[in-house]
C-alpha cells in the first residue's frame, strides 16, 4: 500500500512552497516561525476543515526551511528553486520518503 | 540452550516453590520477572541459582506492577516468560493481567495464596480465587489451574505455559503458602519424556522483515475509540474462550457414583476433603468428592451431573465462600442444598470436615 499526497505548490522568493492540504491542520506554528513573515492563511481548507497556509504574505521566502522543520504534520516541503541544500535540513533524503514503497 | 535441566523422570523430596522453579526450567521457560513476596520467594531463589546454569533470564523488578508488565514484554518478544506473586502482590499484578486479557497475551503467573485481605498473613489461604479468576476491570477471560500436590504443581506449571501459548489467555497456577513451603515427594520430568510437546512461542513484536516494506508493522493496542469497536473485540475473545473451555476444563473425582454427600474443594484443601471422604466411606457413609482443577473455566457441567444425584453438597475452602459462589452460580437451577465449611486463611484437616458433616447432619 502506498500513499501519495497532493501538493499546492507556490513559487515564492527562493523557494518552492509545497503545501499538502490533506496534512495541514491549520495550527499556524509555521506562520510564527517564518523569519520573513511570508506565510499566511489561505482560502483552501485542510485536514480538519480549517484554512491551510500559503506564502506570499510578507517578504519573499529565503528557503530557510524553518516552516518545514516545525510543522508537526509534515505538511510543508520547501524546495530550493536553485535545487541546492536538499540535504542540509533535518528532514533530508527527500523524494524517497514517501514513495519508498 | 545448555543441557536439559531435567532428563527423563526423577524422584525428589522438595518444597513446592522448588517444584515450580524446576517445572519452569523443564518447560523451557526463558525468563522470569519477579518481585519478592512471601510465600513465593523461594521460586525466585531457586530460579536465580539455576538460571545462569541453564542460560535463562531473570530480572528482579521494582514492584509487582513492573513484574507483570515486564512479563507482558517478555511474552510480546516471543519468549516463554513468567512471574510469581501472592496476596497484595497479586492485587497489583492485576493491572498488567487486565492488559494481557485485552490483548490476548500468553502470560503465566504462579500465585501462592496467603492470608488476606491486605497484608494479613504471609502464610496461607484460598482467598485469592476471586482475584485470580476475575481480577481487573474485565470479564475473567483467564485460565486458572488449582493444583493440590507437588506432582500436580509440577505438571500444571508446565501445562500453564502450553495453555497460555495455545489459547492466548493469561494463565495462572493458583497455589498457596502451604504448597509453597511444604516438602513432599514429587516426580519431576522432562516433558518430552512424557510425550508432552511444548507449544511453540511466537513473537508479537520484533518480527523478521522490514516493517512497512516487507510486511505490515505490528501495531498492538488496548485502547479503542468507540463502544462498538471494543464490543467486537471482546465478543470475539469471549466466544473463543467459550469455545475452548470444554478442552481446557479439568476436574478430579472420587467415589462419586453413588455419593449422597458430595464434598467440593480445590487445591490443597481437596486433599483433606478426599481424606474425609475416605474416612466417611470407611464408616459406611456414601460420601464423594469433586475437585475443580480448573477454576476458570469452571467445570460446571460435569459437576452439575454429579451434584444433581447427590442429596447434599458441601463446599470446603480456606476462604469465605469464594469457591461456594462459583459452585452456586455454576449449578444454578439445581435444588441440592449447598453447605459451606468456610475457614478463611485457616488450614483444614480431614477430621474437621468429618466432624462438620456429622454436626450438620449432612449425611
Amino acid at each position: 500500500m502506498s500513499v501519495t499526497f497532493k501538493a499546492i505548490t507556490t513559487e515564492n522568493g527562493k523557494g518552492l512552497f509545497h503545501l499538502f492540504p490533506a496534512l495541514c491542520k491549520g495550527c499556524g506554528l509555521c506562520i510564527e516561525k517564518c523569519p520573513v513573515d511570508t506565510i499566511g492563511w489561505a482560502k483552501q481548507l485542510g485536514a480538519f476543515g480549517t484554512p491551510v497556509v500559503e506564502p506570499g504574505h510578507g517578504k519573499p521566502c529565503i528557503a530557510c526551511k524553518k516552516c518545514q522543520l516545525v510543522c508537526p504534520d509534515a505538511a510543508i516541503w520547501i524546495e530550493r528553486r536553485d535545487g541546492k541544500g536538499r540535504d542540509t535540513s533535518l528532514t533530508a533524503a527527500p523524494e524517497k520518503h514517501v514513495q519508498h514503497k | 540452550m545448555a543441557t536439559r535441566p531435567v532428563t527423563g523422570e526423577q524422584r525428589a523430596f522438595m518444597t513446592g516453590n522448588e517444584v515450580v522453579a524446576w517445572a519452569a526450567l523443564a518447560a523451557g521457560a526463558d525468563i522470569m520477572y519477579g518481585y519478592p513476596i512471601t510465600p513465593q520467594n523461594e521460586i525466585m531463589h531457586y530460579w536465580t541459582r539455576m538460571a545462569s546454569k541453564y542460560e535463562r533470564g531473570f530480572l528482579q523488578t521494582e514492584d509487582e506492577i513492573a513484574a507483570g508488565f515486564a512479563t507482558v514484554g517478555g511474552v510480546l518478544a516471543g519468549k516463554r516468560a513468567f512471574t510469581a506473586t501472592a496476596g497484595p502482590g497479586n492485587v497489583l499484578m492485576q493491572e498488567a493481567m487486565a492488559m494481557a486479557e485485552m490483548m490476548r497475551l500468553p502470560t503465566v503467573v504462579v500465585v501462592t495464596q496467603r492470608g488476606g485481605p491486605s497484608t494479613a498473613t504471609v502464610i496461607y489461604s484460598q482467598q485469592e480465587l476471586n482475584l485470580t479468576c476475575f481480577g481487573g476491570n474485565g470479564e475473567g477471560l483467564r485460565i486458572v489451574y488449582s493444583p493440590s500436590s507437588h506432582d500436580e504443581l509440577f505438571l500444571y506449571t508446565i501445562k500453564a505455559f502450553n495453555s497460555a501459548w495455545k489459547y492466548r489467555f493469561p494463565t495462572f497456577v493458583l497455589g498457596d503458602g502451604y504448597q509453597s513451603k511444604m516438602r513432599e515427594p514429587v516426580t519431576i520430568f522432562d516433558p518430552e519424556a512424557r510425550g508432552i510437546t511444548m507449544e511453540p512461542c511466537r513473537p508479537m513484536v520484533g518480527l523478521p522483515g522490514l516493517p512497512g516494506e516487507e510486511r505490515d508493522p505490528a501495531h498492538l493496542r488496548n485502547t479503542y475509540n468507540l463502544e462498538d469497536e471494543l464490543y467486537e473485540v471482546l465478543m470475539t475473545a469471549i466466544k473463543e474462550y467459550e469455545a475452548i473451555a470444554p478442552q481446557v476444563v479439568e476436574w478430579d473425582t472420587y467415589a462419586v457414583d453413588d455419593a449422597e454427600l458430595l464434598i467440593i474443594a480445590h487445591g490443597v484443601v481437596s486433599r483433606a476433603a478426599r481424606a474425609a471422604v475416605v474416612s466417611l466411606r470407611e464408616r459406611g457413609f456414601k460420601a464423594g468428592y469433586f475437585r475443580p482443577v480448573t477454576l476458570r473455566p469452571f467445570p460446571a457441567e460435569t459437576l452439575r451431573t454429579l451434584a444433581a444425584r447427590a442429596r447434599n453438597l458441601m463446599v470446603v475452602e480456606s476462604a469465605y465462600g469464594q469457591l461456594k459462589r462459583q459452585v452456586q452460580a455454576g449449578l444454578y437451577g439445581l435444588e441440592t442444598p449447598v453447605t459451606g465449611y468456610l475457614r478463611p486463611g485457616m488450614g483444614i484437616t480431614p477430621e474437621e470436615i468429618v466432624e462438620f458433616v456429622h454436626a450438620k447432619e449432612l449425611i
Binding site: M1, V3, F5, A7, H18, L23, K25, C27, G28, L29, I31, E32, K33, F48, Q68, L69, V70, C71, P72, D73, A74, A75, W77, E79, S89, L90, E95, H97, V98 | Y33, G57, L59, T61, E62, D63, F69, A70, T71, V72, G73, G74, L76, A77, G78, K79, A96, M99, V205, G206, L207, L210, P211, G212, P217, A218, H219, L220, R221, N222, T223
Partner: protein, 262 residues
Amino acid sequence: MAIAAQPQMPRVWRAETKPHKFCPGCGHGIVLKALGEAIDALDIQERTIFGCDIGCSLLSWDFFNLDTVQTHHGRTTPVLVGIKRARPELVVVSYMGDGGAYAIGAQHLVSSASRNDLVTIIVVNNTVYAMTGGQMAPTTLPGQKTETTPYGRDARLTGRPILGPELVAAIAPPGAYVARGSIANIVQLKNFIQKGLQNQLEGRGIAFIEALSSCPTNWHTNAAATWRFVEKEMTAYFPVGELRTPEEKPSGRFQEVPPYES
C-alpha cells in the same frame, strides 16, 4: 520534476496513517519527527520496537512503520525493559508524557535509571495531563491554570515543576545519557534522541531525553502564545541541554569502589 512533490516525512513514518491523530499544533508531531529522523539516521528501523504510553502518546500507536505496542498509563518502560531483557538485540524506545513518566510511573523511571536499563526513554513534557483534558501535571508551572488548579498552581500546596532529567542524572550509574531538548530546537532534539539511541546500541546504559512540547488544546493558546509558552515560560523552569553523557568520568557520587565480597 519527474515525480510529484511529496511530504518530507522521515522514512520510518507510516504515511498511510497520516495526518496523524494529534491536535493541530501539538508538539508530539514534532518530537516524533525528531525521533523518526534519528531512527532513519541510525538505520535501525528493522530492529526498533516503539512503545507508547496512555496519554496523548497513545495516539502514536500506529504512527510508525515500527512494531509498536501501546501499553498502560506509566507502564511503557517496564514493558520495554521486559522486551529488551528477553531480546537484547532489539532497540526499544519508551515514549510517554510527563504524567506517565513522573507521576504514576515514577517508580519505573527511578528503577530503570538506577539499573541502567538499556532503554531509550523519551518524555514529552507539555506541563499538563493532556489526554484527560488538562489537569495539573508534575510539570505544571507555578501559577499555571489547569482543570485541577483552576486558580493557578500554588507551589506551596502542590510543589514545583518536577525536574525529570535532573532526577535521572542524580541516580543513573556511569554510562547513562541524559538530556533535555525542546520542540523549539528540533535539530538539537533530534541529536539528543540520536545520541540516546546510540547509547543503547552501544550497551552503555540508559538514555533519557525530555522534550519540552506544546499542547495548544489544553493551554488554550494560539500559535504565537504556544511558542511563547514553550520558549519563554517553560524554558525558565526547564533548562535545555545535556545533563549526562556516557563519556563523562563518574562524578563524586560514583567513586570506583571494588565490588564487595561476601
